[in-house]
């Protein structure tokens, strides 16, 4: 066993509560690492924009070895603070690149499984209308939606999409209303980028596609397929690098790829069409083998109905 003092001190800063899908994955991975005894972990959630820099500095001053967080919307402050604490390693979710000397980045690169869920959904829709409810049209969201749409179109060229952004990361009742509206317009499959969408699907007895986290057990019989994000490979890798003194301000994004186990594709086999599943599994293997690359498209997706 490693002695208490030698444990890596890791802090995380989240701008939203830890229940929020995206953040929950980081939180979960760090909690797991703590459970293994690799690190000691503390975090601050729901940190307001103005307070973000102070929290970063407090952690840096407090002798943290590694600080994990999201630089989105606090990019400038995060990068400035990092520069001032060169002995601390920073791993930040960011749409931009890493920066010397100590600013590493990651992102939820699960466009691959998203594509696969699209293939399942494209076959499953009968009305040929798929409803998609997102938070904001940022790359992290658009990229996955576009991959999903591409996957669906590959197996079903007639499929149409309804796209709504609720302009909030966190308003389930609103997301639910948006989903209801899409059902009214004929959507029979919902792409659940936000909390609340699957609830609408469940209530109306239609199917939903999960994203980032696995909610199948919360909505039995509703979640057809999900593209999951696993932060563990990224976190484990960065902990290893920091512990061994090999930390580099690199892009840890690829550790979210399926090949590294950072993304996975799950299907409720009792709900999915067997042929569609077979096709998707084949495609999954191609991706893992490096034979197929899913396009990265950060454009804002638009309704096609």
């Amino acid at each position: 066993a490693v002695a208490q003092e030698e444990k890596l001190k890791v802090a995380a800063i989240y701008t939203v509560p830890v229940e929020q899908q995206w953040v929950s994955r980081i939180h979960k991975a760090l909690n797991a690492a703590q459970q293994h005894g690799d690190i000691s972990y503390t975090f601050s959630e729901n940190v307001a924009n103005t307070d973000y820099e102070r929290v970063m500095r407090e952690y840096a001053e407090g002798g943290m070895d590694l600080i994990v967080g999201e630089a989105f919307a606090v990019e400038r402050a995060a990068r400035n603070v990092a520069k001032e604490y060169p002995d601390t390693a920073f791993l930040m979710g960011s749409s931009f690149g890493p920066a010397k000397p100590n600013f590493a980045v990651f992102d939820n690169w699960i466009h691959e499984p998203s594509y696969l869920t699209g293939m399942i959904a494209g076959k499953a829709t009968k009305s040929n209308v798929i409803g998609m409810v997102g938070g904001y049209a940022i790359p992290e969201v658009s990229r996955l939606m576009n991959a999903f749409m591409e996957g669906a179109r590959e197996v079903n060229p007639d499929v149409k999409f309804l796209v709504t952004f609720i302009n909030s990361w966190y308003d389930p009742p609103k997301a639910k209303e948006a989903a209801f509206a899409m059902i009214d317009k004929g959507a029979d499959i919902l792409y659940a980028e936000r909390f609340g969408v699957s609830d609408a699907a469940k209530e109306k007895g239609i199917l939903a596609i999960g994203n980032v986290i696995d909610t199948a057990s919360d909505y039995p019989g509703t979640i057809l397929s999900s593209a999951l994000w696993h932060m563990e490979p990224t976190i484990d890798k960065v902990i290893e690098d920091v512990s061994s003194g090999n930390f580099e301000p690199a892009d840890y994004g690829p550790y979210s790829y399926m090949a590294h186990g950072g993304g996975s594709f799950v299907v409720d086999e009792s709900l999915a069409d067997a042929d569609a599943l077979k096709a998707a599994r084949e495609k999954e293997q191609e991706i893992l083998d490096g034979l197929f690359r899913v396009n990265v498209n950060d454009e804002e997706p638009k309704s096609t109905l």
Partner: protein, 356 residues
């Protein structure tokens, strides 16, 4: 039954002592949530004080947070003096921030000494313009300003979102709803190297002194106080009531707008829709804690900021839920608010009821 008898004479010791005592009570009460979260109470207090004033960094953070609160506090204080219930500080703050970005992110190529004033003026004007709408609706059409200012907060925030996702979106922002950064030349200088406290603090303090002089020493201030206390007598006495309301509205909005400028051009460098964690609303509390006195606003803002920053830092150091900080702030506000009673009144419990 509780009875309140107004004091004939209120000693300075009481005026200062009561809120201090109340703050201590609030901190004592904070022991309950700290304890319920399973943390050590004594350590918590040490950490809290340290987090608020224990280092240059802490003090800088405290002042950085107090800066917008002073300005939104002033916005409420001057307006409330005239009984113009401006609950729209939040929206005006965002309008100020939006204007600061519009002017400061490249549309004007000016050297620092010209660009900074331009940004400040733009922000103040934008805040003032936003407040002008409810003020005019009130004086011309009799629409209740509590509601109109409150509703405009939402409208402005939506406009900000619209701008951030549309014309003012940072093309380099990867699709994030954020504005282009404010130019280096437009940024308010930092007051301490590598610390966040910025020249916005000076602006805020000047604004407080300005408001204090305006209210106490000028004809306009006299007129504002008169209109606030009794508009019909003021009108009868020949004071231009409508003009006074408009003046107060513009000033109040301008202060809140400046708060937005400080946040954008002093701290963040660009605008996002989550710029303010409710500074506009907190300003109302600050103003009332200060008894609507402009200089009192400075003290109240520093107090509120200190409690927040200290409790926030403490919660982090102890690994207690960071919602504790907001809770301690709320409890302090309520306690200080109540203490005001003991300053103004003898509080008698029971009372001398002769018979029953």
């Amino acid at each position: 039954m509780i009875r309140f008898e107004p004091r004939e004479y209120v000693s300075t010791r009481r005026v200062i002592g009561a809120p201090v005592f109340a703050a201590l009570i609030a901190l004592a009460l904070a022991a309950i949530p700290i304890w319920s979260a399973g943390a050590d109470i004594a350590t918590a207090y040490v950490l809290m004080v340290n987090g608020a004033i224990g280092s240059v960094f802490a003090i800088s953070e405290l002042l950085a947070r107090a800066t917008p609160l002073i300005l939104t506090g002033l916005a409420a204080a001057v307006a409330f003096r005239a009984k113009l219930w401006n609950i729209g500080g939040e929206g005006q703050l965002y309008a100020g921030a939006l204007a600061a970005v519009a002017v400061g992110s490249g549309s004007l190529a000016l050297p620092s000494y010209a660009l900074i004033p331009a940004v400040l003026v733009a922000g103040a004007l934008a805040g003032a313009a936003v407040m002008l709408v409810p003020t005019l609706l009130k004086v011309k059409l009799g629409a209740d300003e509590v509601v109109t200012t409150l509703l405009l907060n939402f409208v402005i925030l939506l406009i900000v979102q619209m701008m951030l996702e549309g014309p003012m979106q940072d093309p380099m922002g990867m699709g994030w709803p954020q504005s282009e950064p404010v130019l280096e030349e437009a940024m308010l200088p930092q007051l301490i190297a590598r610390m966040r406290v910025h020249a916005g603090l000076i602006v805020a303090l000047l604004a407080a002194v300005f408001a204090a002089i305006l209210m106490r020493r000028t004809v306009w201030g006299f007129e504002i106080r008169a209109v606030g206390a009794n508009p019909s007598a003021a009108r009868h006495a020949g004071i231009p009531v409508t003009a006074t309301f408009v003046r107060v509205g513009l000033l109040s909005g301008a202060f809140a707008g400046l708060a937005g400028v400080g946040e954008v051009a002093g701290l963040k460098g660009y605008l996002t829709a989550d710029l303010s964690p409710g500074f506009g609303y907190a300003g109302i509390v600050v103003a009332m804690l200060a008894g609507l006195s402009p200089l009192g606003v400075v003290i109240a803002a520093i107090f509120v900021a200190g409690v927040f920053v200290g409790a926030d830092s403490m919660s982090r150091a102890l690994g207690v839920s960071s919602y504790l900080a907001d809770l301690v702030v709320a409890m302090s506000l309520l306690c200080v608010l109540i203490s005001g009673l003991f300053v103004r009144y003898h509080v008698r419990i029971g009372g001398s009821r002769a018979t029953d």
